[in-house]
């Protein structure tokens, strides 16, 4: 049995070896267990993410309480942007009991979603974090919402919720000044997450929208309010296990904001501009408060709140009439003859006698080349008053030469051109006011004095915005360097500072204003047909009423200046064969039509500027448009009434 004995000895030794191996195995398990504890402690001490932190991260969830976005009111408290219930359906993939696809298809059928949308949601849900809720569809109507609610017991993992979303009751009317909100982009979420982890949680909340254009974008911090949060304990499926973990913060509502806009007047302006590609601005010449800031055609900002379809966006974005473009503030146009008010003031400042007459044969030769007047055959002999009334180019060529490029530029800046006004909007146009230094910075050769002739009649390199045109008109009429404002009252802001007076003598302004009066009211005026308000003042009430209500009453009149800005260059050859009529050109090549005006003449209060893109003629298209809008303004006279305050609105809300 020696073999057996050997075998038993071998066996015992082998058991010992295995025992040692086992001890090593269990030893390393224990060492590893201990090491994890040490690692946890060290990471805690070093301030790094420890396992304990990871547990808390798992265990506690910050439930964001997004505050309602600040309501936007017009000057009399009419609601221009508020919030409305947003019914939506969410899904938690983990909680669908393995029926994710099936459940989403059922929801899709209940909501009548198109097949491709359902497929897209299924794909997205499969990639989404299993324990997070994912948005299936929002902006549901009550029928859809209740349909899903009825079937909820059969749809594991589906949640039907009601949140609050931005709503613009007047749709397109205020789309440009107010702008719109959109869901934050993934890039924004990622970025804010890097700078502040809490912000990412806030932005991911399905109720959260951020201002994307207009006031919504610029007033974002105050409109957004301050998000509240509640720390809750959740399980792995995201279900709240305990609400009372302790910490929480109440949300602070977004700040209500009163705008200077007059709701009905803005809507009237939008309606009057109709299908034109146009912009209209009306402001108070004394305070700079903007009553109308309208760009046509409009678009429905509500379409952006829940995510606009790419097809719909493409249609808007590629439309020749540029509905998404804020023409009134961001648009840049050659001012054309409306700029002659600047040239006139600059020439007067240079000492030009307004009574001095120049003969207009229809052209003016300077530097060996002819500069044309718009009127074939010319105006004959005109003084400044007549030149403004008839918008004589030849007179203003000579007035411009008298003033000089830099004096004209300085006067333009004094009236507000070349300035990007701070009116709480993004992308405010500064425009271009070319002086000699500017010209030389843009070109290699010295400033050619012939440029001054172009500048004098509002052509050349000049670029102005409709807002600037109305500011210039208001400054001319008031003699004050008013600044345009769009926000009357918001969080921590109310009232305005008194504007300084304009450094232009009253006599000079009166000469120009008289010329503008002639434009609308004297024979030979370029806006004699389109510049008549057809209003009279009712002596008993002092209000402006339509002419037919009191033919004998004193007329309410306005003063204005037409402008027609070339979009194309007219060649010498074309001059010979005859300049093409605007009507024969395709829309995009036709001249822009402009008109600036101020009313009522006896006691100026409203300044108005209208630009109609490719509208062909200021006198025929822009002037009647401005007149019709101003007519509404004068009859309604919003500046004659006391605007409302946030305190009044909130007081009303409390009583209600």
């Amino acid at each position: 049995m020696s073999g057996k004995r050997d075998l038993m000895n071998v066996f015992n030794r082998r058991v010992a070896v295995l025992g040692a191996l086992g001890a090593a195995g269990f030893g390393s398990v224990i060492v590893r267990l201990g090491y994890l504890q040490v690692e946890n402690t060290l990471n805690t001490l070093r301030g790094k993410t420890s396992y304990s932190d990871a547990v808390d991260e798992n265990r506690f969830d910050l439930h964001v309480l997004p505050p309602p976005r600040g309501i936007l009111y017009d000057r009399f408290g009419e609601v221009l942007a508020n919030t409305s219930p947003n019914y939506r359906v969410m899904v938690v993939p983990e909680a669908t009991q393995g029926r994710l696809e099936d459940v989403l298809r059922q929801v899709g059928a209940l909501l009548n979603l198109p097949e491709d949308v359902i497929e897209a949601r299924i794909r997205k849900a499969k990639r989404a974090r299993r324990f997070d809720s994912m948005l299936v569809q929002e902006g549901l109507d009550w029928q859809q919402f209740s349909a899903v609610n009825v079937f909820l017991p059969e749809l594991p993992g589906i949640k039907a919720e009601a949140g609050e979303l931005r709503y613009y009751p007047y749709k397109s009317a205020f789309a440009h000044p107010i702008g719109y909100v959109q869901r934050p982009s993934q890039l924004e979420i990622d970025r804010s997450e890097i700078s502040n982890p809490g912000a990412g949680i806030y932005l991911r909340n399905p109720d959260v929208r951020v201002g994307r254009s207009g006031l919504e974008a610029r007033l974002e911090p105050s409109l957004q309010g301050v998000a509240g949060w509640r720390k809750v304990e959740v399980n792995a499926t995201g279900r709240v296990v305990s609400e009372t973990v302790g910490q929480s913060r109440k949300p602070v509502d977004g700040a209500g904001t009163i705008l200077t806009l007059d709701g009905p007047l803005q809507r009237a302006a939008m309606e009057r501009m109709g299908g034109e590609s146009a912009a209209a601005v009306i402001m108070d010449i004394q305070s700079g408060e903007v009553l109308v800031l309208a760009s046509a055609p409009g678009f429905d900002p509500n379409a952006f709140v829940n995510g606009i379809g790419s097809e719909e966006f493409k249609t808007l974005n590629e439309n020749e009439y540029k509905p998404l473009f804020h023409k009134a503030v961001t648009g840049a146009y050659k001012p054309g003859s409306t700029f002659k008010i600047v040239t006139a003031l600059a020439a007067l400042q240079a000492g030009k006698d307004p009574a001095e007459r120049h003969n207009c044969p229809g052209y003016y030769v300077y530097g060996g080349r002819p500069f044309h007047c718009w009127k074939k055959g010319g105006h004959g002999s005109v003084d400044m008053h007549g030149a403004l009334k008839g918008s004589c180019n030849v007179y203003f060529f000579q007035a411009a030469l008298r003033a000089g490029q830099d004096r004209i530029a300085a006067m333009a800046r004094a009236l507000g051109f070349g300035t990007a006004f701070d009116i709480d909007l993004p992308a405010v146009q500064a425009g271009i006011v070319p002086d000699q230094a500017w010209w030389e910075s843009q070109h290699d050769d010295p400033f050619p004095s012939g440029m001054t002739l172009n500048t004098g009649i509002g052509q050349g390199d000049l670029l102005v915005s409709p807002l600037q045109l109305s500011v210039a008109t208001a400054r001319l009429a008031s003699g004050m360097a008013i600044e345009p404002i769009l926000v009357r009252e918001t969080l921590g802001r109310s009232g305005t500072t008194a504007p300084r007076s304009l450094d232009v003598p009253k006599e000079h302004r009166d000469i120009v204003l008289a010329g503008m009066y002639a434009v609308c009211n004297e024979p030979g005026g370029t806006a004699i047909s389109g510049g008549d308000l057809q209003l009279v003042r009712d002596p008993s009430s002092g209000r402006a009423v339509p002419l037919e209500q009191g033919p004998g009453f004193e007329r309410v009149r306005m003063a204005g200046k037409t402008g027609t800005a070339q979009v194309r260059v007219i060649s010498a050859a074309e001059r010979v064969t005859g300049v093409k009529r605007n009507e024969d050109l395709r829309w995009g090549l036709r001249d822009h039509a402009l008109f600036i005006c101020v009313a009522p003449w006896d006691k100026p209060r409203y300044a108005c500027a209208v630009v109609v893109e490719h509208g062909m003629a200021g006198s025929r298209v822009a002037a009647p448009m401005a007149r019709d809008i101003l007519r509404v303004a004068l009859m309604d006279d919003p500046l004659g009434r006391t605007p409302t305050t946030l305190a009044q609105i909130q007081g009303k809300g409390r009583r209600a």
């Binding site: 073999g3 390393s28 994890l36 990871a54 547990v55």
Partner: protein, 380 residues
């Protein structure tokens, strides 16, 4: 047919019960009780459901185990080959049925307790190999045939189980099989030769031939069922739970990772994590300590047995239990990939418990008959 018995085995039932290895049974009960406690920890204060099921299952199996261990230990040697053949046939049968049913059927329903043929194989391989070496002339252990026969006996079921696919069980079968070969006196030169070839080439392949994603894929390919939620999730949550536990844990019923379901498979494969989370390093030492104690007792039974078969069978059971516990604990603390091996006696589910308890029944039976020595010329 000769049967040589040096000492008479205990005769009366009372005598046998008195000589029963009660310490091992106590340890089993302690471990199972910890399992019940942990299952109760994650119910909402109700014993019904997992805690009661676990206790009931353990109780029934334990009664059977004690009953079986009272039987004549020679039945094990008699059953060794038949059991192995039966397990092999069932494995092949499951393989064939599995093919026709797209792998849906791996279970055989035996009354109230489902049994997987692969589980039966875990015990059968130990018995069959012990039986093989029992009859092997020690002088022949260096020859080729006695070397190759056990390798084939291990290799065939391992390959079948791996093809199911069930990497964890295949590892266990192969591990206990080769462990038993080692105990039986496998020459060191073969071991060294095998290691010299296999280890470097495996290491080389793993680190230099395979890309990271392929390494991951190796594990996933071998056992796709083990880790369906994405490779990292289970182990990450487990490491978080363990790392945050500290010396004494978060307290019974207070482990957030377990209680709030962040820890997946906490009832089954990851129950050790839950123990550590709620009882800390102390709890880990306790459970590991109990298992080590149990293993020590099993190996002592093995060493004290007279017959080679008994020694190898008990040793093989010890190796199986050790592999279960080592692989499971290493898996939940992230030392080895997740391969789907439960912690015996604690994890919920009857399969591993049945396997381990069957093994323990063999050990208890060998202990009762520790003085019996069967001759190597013994033929049933």
């Amino acid at each position: 047919m000769t049967l040589q018995i040096n000492n008479p085995r205990p005769t009366s039932l009372a005598d046998r019960l008195r000589k029963m290895h009660w310490l091992i049974i106590t340890l089993l009960c302690a471990l199972a009780a910890i399992g019940v406690l942990m299952h109760f920890s994650v119910t909402d204060g109700s014993w019904t459901g997992r805690p009661v099921d676990h206790a009931t299952r353990f109780g029934i199996i334990l009664v059977f185990v004690i009953g079986i261990s009272l039987l004549d230990s020679r039945i094990w040697i008699a059953l060794a080959y038949p059991l192995y053949v039966l397990a092999l046939v069932l494995l092949i049968g499951v393989e064939l049925i599995g093919v026709t049913r797209l792998g849906a059927q791996r279970w055989l329903e035996l009354g109230p307790i489902g049994l997987q043929p692969s589980e039966l194989m875990k015990i059968a391989i130990v018995l069959a190999l012990a039986r093989y070496y029992q009859n092997l002339d020690p002088r022949r252990t260096g020859q080729i045939l006695p070397l190759l026969t056990p390798i084939v006996m291990i290799g065939v079921p391992t390959a079948l189980v791996m093809h199911q696919p069930d990497l964890g069980t295949a590892l266990l079968i192969a591990g206990s099989g080769f462990g038993l070969m080692f105990l039986a006196g496998l020459r060191w030169r073969y071991i060294i030769a095998a290691a010299a070839v296999a280890l470097p080439s495996a290491i080389y392949a793993y680190f230099f031939v395979l890309q990271t994603y392929q390494r991951q894929r190796v594990v996933t390919f071998l056992d796709p069922d083990a880790d369906p939620l994405g490779a990292g999730y289970h182990q990450l949550q487990s490491r978080i739970a363990i790392g945050s536990a500290g010396l004494f844990g978060q307290g019974y019923g207070e482990g957030p990772q377990s209680q709030l379901d962040f820890l997946p498979e906490k009832h089954t494969d990851f129950i050790f994590t839950m123990i550590v989370e709620e009882f800390g390093l102390f709890g880990a030492f306790l459970v590991v300590g109990l298992f080590v104690w149990l293993l020590t007792l099993v190996m002592r039974v093995s060493v004290q047995a007279k017959s080679l078969f008994a020694r190898l069978a008990a040793g093989g059971v010890g190796i199986t239990i050790a592999l279960y516990v080592l692989i499971n604990t290493s898996m939940v603390i992230g030392l080895v990939p997740v391969v789907g091996i439960p912690l015996p006696l604690l994890s919920f589910g009857g399969t591993a418990m049945l396997t381990i308890m069957a093994g323990v029944a063999i050990v208890l039976s060998i202990h009762l008959n520790r003085d019996a020595s069967t001759s190597r010329s013994f033929v049933w």
